[in-house]
C-alpha cells in the first residue's frame, strides 16, 4: 500500500503562492495522485489529480517529478478562504477505495 507523508501544518499570507509537498516513496505503477481539500465539519472536496509531470486546473497545479516518489500541490495567490486541511491520496481510485487512509493531511492557515 502506498503510504503518504505530508507536513502537519503550514502558514501563509494572503496573495502568496503555497506549495504543499507529499512524499509517496512506494507508489505503484498504476497509482494516481489525488489531492482533496476539507473545511471543518464538511466532507473533502476534490482539487486535482495527476499521474506524472504537471497538471493544472482553475484552482491549483500539481507537479510530479519523473520518479513519482513525491508530488507538490501549488495554490496560487491564496486567500483567507483557502484555510483548510489538504490531503494527498495515492492509489488507483479517487478515494483509493479503502486501500489506504487519507492520513492526517496538512493544515494550511492563511493569514491576512
Amino acid at each position: 500500500l502506498a503510504k503518504t507523508t505530508q507536513p502537519i501544518s503550514m502558514d501563509s499570507y494572503e496573495g502568496q503562492e503555497v506549495n504543499i509537498t507529499c512524499s509517496h516513496n512506494n507508489i505503484a505503477t498504476n497509482d494516481y495522485i489525488t489531492w482533496y481539500q476539507q473545511f471543518p465539519s464538511q466532507g473533502p472536496r476534490f482539487i486535482i489529480q495527476g499521474y506524472k509531470t504537471k497538471v493544472t486546473n482553475e484552482v491549483a497545479s500539481l507537479f510530479i517529478p519523473a520518479d513519482r516518489k513525491s508530488s507538490t500541490l501549488s495554490l496560487p495567490r491564496v486567500s483567507l478562504s483557502d484555510t483548510a486541511v489538504y490531503y494527498c491520496l495515492v492509489g488507483d481510485y479517487y478515494t483509493n477505495a479503502g486501500k489506504s487512509t487519507f492520513g492526517d493531511g496538512t493544515t494550511l492557515t492563511v493569514k491576512p
Binding site: 478515494t95 479503502g98 489506504s100 487512509t101
Partner: protein, 113 residues
C-alpha cells in the same frame, strides 16, 4: 443536480444503543464509500459498496456494518455504541472505476454519551 446527501446531520445516542446513518449518492453513481473522522484526525476508511455488494472493508469491528439498496443509497449501522464512536461519518459516491472522481457528503456528526 443534487450532491451526496446524508441524514441525519447530527445524531446523539447513548452508549450501548444502535445508530443508523443514511446516504444518498449522486444520481448515476453506483459506488458508495463510508469514512469515519474522529475530531481533529484524518479519514479512516470503513466500507465500500458497489451494485449492492460490499467491495472492501476497513479495519473496524463487526459492529460496524452497512448495506446498499437497489437504488444505490446506503445505510451504515453501528451497534453497541461506544464513546469512541463519536465522530463525523462521511459518505462519498462515484461511478465504479478507477480514477473516477468521488464526491463527499456533508457528513453525520454522531455523538455517543
Amino acid at each position: 443536480e443534487a450532491g451526496v446527501t446524508q441524514s441525519p446531520t447530527h445524531l446523539i445516542k447513548t452508549r450501548g444503543q444502535q445508530a443508523t446513518l443514511r446516504c444518498s449518492p449522486i444520481s448515476g453513481h453506483t459506488s458508495v464509500y463510508w469514512y469515519q473522522q474522529a475530531l481533529g484526525l484524518g479519514l479512516q476508511f470503513l466500507l465500500w459498496y458497489d451494485e449492492g455488494e460490499e467491495r472492501n472493508r476497513g479495519n473496524f469491528p463487526p459492529r460496524f456494518s452497512g448495506r446498499q439498496f437497489p437504488n444505490y443509497s446506503s445505510e451504515l449501522n453501528v451497534n453497541a455504541l461506544e464513546l469512541e464512536d463519536s465522530a463525523l461519518y462521511l459518505c462519498a459516491s462515484s461511478f465504479l472505476g478507477k480514477n473516477t472522481e468521488a464526491f463527499f457528503g456533508q457528513g453525520t456528526r454522531l455523538t455517543v454519551v
